[in-house]
Subunit: 297 residues, 2 copies
């Protein structure tokens, strides 16, 4: 498997990094993507990514071919380093002008990227979030899907440079929903909670894995995780907080800043300890999926 060969990119099985300007992914964001952790040629959460792709394709009227998907994925893995990130984009294909979906074939784009160079101490010692001013659009029909309409995240991410490690995004009503590139969990009064994603947000595969697998695996120490409407006050009064995604695993959250941007005189920060519940959940993750013990190379 070749090293140091960039970009590693296959479009419909061809080694090419250009796509038609009439691709509906470009024209309208009519497509899906996944960023899949690759660890020693294995993809520990592949089944979850695959299921999400299938659901998303169904919602966006993209005729996903599982056989093609698997073949192109195998091709990429045979031609990329053993570790890193596999980015999959599947668009509705190239069509004629206009929103109407004509008889197009999906475009399958597979790319390899190195793991991001975040310091390992983010997962060990926690991170600081900026409270983003930009809020997520409300759309029950699109909530949960990892589609290519990502202006909310782009705008939110433009609110800081390097002074924070991540951003917290609220919905239109001011409820806490997720990080810019990850999902949110908080522990309070003996239970874990995560925001409902029925109006906005991306239903992350690590979120799902934590809810479905770690919950059971932790044999009683971790109670069932409840999906809830999470006001900012709910979050501020939590005992512990973390964010997660399929690239970085679990990052404990130590503080949230920029709470009252229009009035710096007010208390402008809230903080949480790096608590035992979060550490126990991380330990359970590392035991079941050792790849996430070390999120950088």
């Amino acid at each position: 498997m070749p090293q140091n060969q960039l970009p590693i990119c296959f479009l419909n099985g061809e080694s090419i990094n250009l796509i038609s300007v009439s691709d509906r992914g470009l024209c309208y964001g009519h497509g899906l993507f996944e960023t899949v952790r690759l660890s020693d040629t294995q993809m520990p959460l592949w089944d979850y990514h695959h299921l999400r792709l299938r659901k998303g394709a169904n919602s966006l009227s993209i005729s996903l071919d599982d056989h093609l998907l698997q073949g192109y994925l195998d091709q990429l893995i045979a031609n990329c380093p053993d570790n890193g990130i596999v980015k999959i984009m599947i668009t509705a294909g190239s069509g004629s002008r206009g929103y109407r979906l004509s008889d197009t074939s999906p475009n399958y784009l597979f790319q390899w990227f190195p793991l991001p160079d975040y310091p390992n101490n983010y997962q060990r010692y926690g991170v600081t979030l900026k409270l983003c001013q930009h809020r997520l659009a409300s759309s029950p029909q699109l909530a949960g899907i990892k589609h290519l309409n990502r202006l909310d995240q782009v705008i939110a991410r433009s609110e800081w440079d390097d002074e924070y490690q991540e951003g917290l995004m609220l919905d239109q009503q001011g409820n806490a929903i997720e990080a810019v590139s990850g999902n949110l969990f908080f522990y309070r009064d003996g239970s874990w909670f995560t925001p409902k994603l029925d109006q906005c947000g991306v239903a992350g595969v690590m979120r799902q894995y934590i809810m479905e697998e770690l919950c059971n695996a932790s044999s009683g120490s971790l109670s069932k995780i409840e999906e809830t409407i999470c006001s900012l006050d709910d979050l501020l009064s939590a005992d512990e907080v973390f964010i997660c995604n399929s690239v970085n695993g679990i990052w404990p959250v130590l503080s949230l800043e920029n709470l009252v941007p229009e009035n710096p005189a007010l208390a402008n920060q809230s903080s949480w300890p790096l608590g035992q519940q979060t550490l126990a959940l991380q330990a359970a993750l590392y035991k079941s999926l050792p790849a996430y013990m070390n999120s950088t190379e």
Copy 2:
């Protein structure tokens, strides 16, 4: 100027119809577009399109270069037929993986398309709209901008084939906002109204032209047009209704169907006459911008 040469497409001044797979327009919908009516090498609403591009670029942190824009536009017009549609896409450019905007240069994409082959009687005798089930996402921060995040329109347009001429889209609260590819106006009790676009919707240039120019040009016969919250009941009780965009001009709306899709036994259709107020507005448009008298070739 060459005829019958398809596709006519320039990317940053080069005659090429491929774009990098790392373009942020493809990855995140981080870009803008305009569909500009070209009539005898002139673009009657260009100033409005240009202004909207500038506003949108500012909102999306895209450093639009007016000199480049004009040069590429001149290049396209020198190399395309005299009539048709100029589609302009301006994306944030090719960047590294992740939402963070690095130091990219925008991509300027200019394409020519023939005018759509809608029958001329749509503008003369009116159209039927489907009431779309899919609703527009709520996002005050993105409302009005003609950005590349267009899944709402894609999904709404997939709700019919050829049995309707257009679709009416509601917001999350059920208020009437716009057509899938156009804006909405209605006349009631002696006044014209158009839905407010502060939560969702695209602020169309034809809408703006009608509000700013035709209103004054019609010398009293057309009173000031009020932007309003427009419930479905408000629309159903209107005296006259039309939709408009910069490609087709003004289409009178004669009926709205699929009102109660879950109960076909109920009254499922509402209709309006092709009234004098709409005809007067069309006449004012044809007088000031004769290109729109004939919307097909």
